[in-house]
Amino acid sequence: MLDSIIALYHFQFIQNALLSGMFIAVDAAVVGYFLIGGGYTFAGHALPNIGFAGAAGAVLFGVKPVYGLFAITILAGAAMSIGGRELRERDVSIGVVKSFAMGLGLMFLALYGGYAERVYSILFGTVLGISRNDVILTGLMCLASVCLVLFMFRPLLFVTFDPFVAEAKGVPVGLITLLFMVVVALTVSLAVQVVGALLVFAMLVGPGATATRLTHRPGRAILLAALLGVAYMFAGVTLAGLSGDWPVSFFIASISFLVYMPVRIFYRGKQMRRVASPGEIHGHMPQGLVNTRDKWKKTEVQC
């Protein structure tokens, strides 16, 4: 068993898949954390489907599908950031645009006539067919996305979790949202090539959703999400390689699901709540305040 796994890692196409998959997993997990926090996950679901229309259109017009994918996804991401902040209204608009885009994609495919294998790979991913050059390109783009998120980390966190105060504080909410949605679109476009448009959600939201259940600290949650994403990718590629003909995307989506479900059931986010102190019930200063403070002094620095 171990031997066959080690043998597997000697194949260049497996190495390429693992490398590019890991880059994308880290990027997607970082981006996914903020998508979940800001209630933008539906956008994360719609973007790859809209991107599919771009890819199908590109095939019809004889352009590389990847170009169509990137162009349309980024355009749609930017448009979503400008569209209303009202959550329900926004999701309805995104849904309408998404179904229009998928309809367009279907029409492009019908007009194209021939068997559009390249479009099929947009839908389900081709992680095992990535060249060394593409790995380097993917790595650079993921690095750029993560760096941009790090650069705007604090205002993005502020806008994500406390948008009204952020606006009053003079944070450029519109600009931050636009930049973030462009990063999301870029990440989605990269991830589509690995796991496919239909399964991007598993990488984008799966690890982050699990991580935010397990820890309340933003920094830790993002790190944990990235680790989970890399682990899913590693396990998915390895299992697919061992099984021979079962697709990578299937394994990644299944692992993401199988890890999330028990965490969702057993960690309801209410685990750490302490019981109200007697002082609080009587409405004056809690007696135990000084002790509580001393207790934290001994704990490590947590930020």
């Binding site: 954390y33 205002p155 502020f158 952020a166 944070v171 935010t212 600290r217 709540r273």
Partner: protein, 262 residues
């Protein structure tokens, strides 16, 4: 730094003949009043009288149609570090991804670029302000797990950590039970004294605030009145403000305004 610091204009809030409108309709006409350092002001009035719009005016999010507005001697501007603001509507209820101390930290450096590495000084500042509002106990609890009163304490801490001279609280008592409301009010009252910070607190019910506020700003019918609760919440003042007969009844040490929607 402050432009033309001259007498009255240096006060936390200075308004002269200010008219604010919304879609062509005047919400407030001829607003003229000042607020001094350390004053605790309750802002009252029916829905749509312009309470929230007034706060937005001071925050620089709404422009006056006419008149002069000065915050510590300067024109209102977005992101003014001298103002702390806690809005009425927030998205904290279902928020399990950040802890109390993270939310408070936003008030300190959430507007700065870069990842912001943890430091001992930053942690100390957050701990201090959490202690000041007596929220130390749940510093590391996820925001979504806290009660309404606890969240209001965090809002205050988030505002105070930036050391503002003027604090605007939009309906902090809404959806709080009476005991929690009293705790928040006496906390705000103490902060006015200890920090010399001017507070404008928007509310629907003046009664829990009667013993604590210095003055009341009552907005209604496109006009406003400001003064002590005894002078503003009277039959005469409110009737002339609303331009129709209004009665004020006092019972069990509380004031009840009759004849209007509040």
């Amino acid at each position: 730094m402050r432009a033309e610091p001259d007498g009255m204009e240096r006060l936390p809030v200075f308004l002269r003949n200010v008219r604010i409108g919304f879609g062509g309709r005047a919400i407030q006409d001829e607003m003229t009043f000042t607020i001094e350092d350390g004053e605790f002001i309750a802002v009252l009035g029916p829905n749509g009288a312009g309470k929230t719009t007034l706060l937005k005016l001071l925050l620089g999010l709404v422009q006056p149609e006419t008149g002069e507005v000065r915050i510590f001697g300067r024109k209102p501007r977005r992101g003014n570090p001298e103002i702390g603001y806690a809005p009425q509507f927030r998205t904290l209820d279902t928020n399990f991804a950040v802890r109390a101390r993270d939310l408070v930290g936003f008030g300190l450096d959430g507007h700065r670029w870069g990842p912001g590495f943890p430091s001992r000084k930053r942690r100390m500042l957050v701990d201090q302000v959490l202690e000041e509002v007596r929220a130390s106990e749940y510093a590391d609890v996820a925001v979504g797990e806290l009660s309404g009163g606890e969240k209001q304490r965090l809002s205050l801490a988030q505002v105070l950590i930036a050391n503002p001279g003027l604090v605007l609280l939009d309906e902090p008592l809404a959806s709080l039970d009476i005991a929690s409301a009293h705790e928040i009010i006496s906390l705000v009252g103490r902060l006015c004294v200890s920090r010399k910070v001017a507070v404008m607190l928007v509310t629907h019910d003046i009664n829990p605030l009667l013993q604590h506020v210095n003055r009341v700003l009552y907005l209604a019918n496109g006009r406003c009145a400001i003064g002590s609760p005894e002078t503003v919440i009277t039959r005469e003042t409110l009737s002339s403000l609303y331009n129709h007969p209004v009665d004020v009844v006092e019972a069990m040490g509380k004031k009840f305004v009759l004849g209007v929607e509040t």
